[in-house]
Symmetry: C2
Subunit: 208 residues, 2 copies
């Protein structure tokens, strides 16, 4: 964070009436359940979903270097909703006219500076199904580095301050646990679960 000059600070938290909200809103869903009973549910929604029907992509990424271990690039940024720095894979909203694959390549370039190759695109997944309709796709991407490649420039939008960290994949889980212990830092659940799944597969004794 070369331009970082101070710690972000929250100055005010206030109720946000629906008519003033640009990015999120609240809806009441009335429905009839499995046994015919009328019920209702409260839901938070993004207002930005485009024709893809999916809100966002996250880029599970592998950096391959001729002489270094396979690594993954994480982004650390201040997130006002948590008043904390979050550790995440690069991610972003899918623009109205984009596919998930296009959004992944664009956002990865913007946040990390790297050109990537898409290896796989997951089905749509629900971010937090009890509370929101927010959904996302996990796009696995690969970056092939040369021996002498220098770290590229990011192409951040105004107001984005995103620190890049490169972690050997074999160390990912332990590093996330360490980040979680630091003051004012929190790891995003999707990244943590991926790493926990890797660690589980590596260490479990139930099957091999």
């Amino acid at each position: 964070m070369s331009h970082k000059t101070q710690e972000p600070v929250i100055t005010k938290i206030s109720d946000l009436p629906l008519e003033e909200a640009r990015w999120v809103t609240l809806k009441k869903i009335d429905y009839v359940d499995q046994v015919g009973k009328a019920r209702s549910w409260e839901v938070a929604q993004r207002k930005t979903r485009g024709k893809s029907g999916v809100d966002a992509v996250a880029m599970g990424n592998i950096l391959l270097h001729p002489s270094k271990p396979a690594s993954t690039l994480l982004v650390i940024q201040y997130r006002p909703p948590l008043d904390s720095y979050t550790v995440e894979w690069p991610a972003g909203l899918i623009d109205a006219e984009e596919t998930a694959e296009q959004a992944a390549v664009r956002e990865f370039k913007e946040e990390t500076g790297y050109d990537c190759v898409v290896k796989s695109v997951s089905p749509a997944q629900s971010a937090d199904p009890g509370m929101t309709n927010a959904n996302m796709q996990l796009v696995m991407v690969e970056v092939q580095l040369g021996e002498q490649d220098e770290e590229p420039e990011q192409r951040l939008e105004d107001g984005e301050h995103i620190q890049r960290v490169i972690v050997p994949i074999a160390e990912l889980y332990d590093r996330l646990v360490e980040y979680s212990k630091q003051e004012r830092m929190v790891v995003a659940a999707k990244l943590f679960h991926f790493a926990a799944g890797m660690e589980f597969a590596r260490t479990q004794t139930y099957f091999k």
Copy 2:
């Protein structure tokens, strides 16, 4: 879903003013960023967080049986925010006076009928850091079954209709991909990412 008599149907979706919302709300956060500029952010929040400081737990669970492969229990339920059935690990909100561990044992019993032993508790993770302050902890639990054990009764609250599915752990990823292809079904991102991490560790060629 033995009591299921019909498909749930949404009858109305309406704006939910803040003053009528019981479970969720919207806030505007004013903050000063890293370079001293005043900015604001819109956030959706739960209104139910207790003294643990964490909203929810999810139970990554292993069912051990004398003569069957190690398995995991998934829950499938209709989720009005998505108008779909979601495939998830059992999960629930942490009550005001509970620890994550207590909530995990209680919720696992309610949703699945099984008594479980807690094996590990993760740090707090952020569910969807760009949109909400919602957070959760992944609690890994184990259930030891006997050869003749029958499936226990669930202890569901009024209005909960939760189907249990038991899947061999070695098949988890493929089963989630299959579920994702079905009409009106979506897999929760945290579960999918855990399974994707397992699959990645099992199949990747970057390191072993």
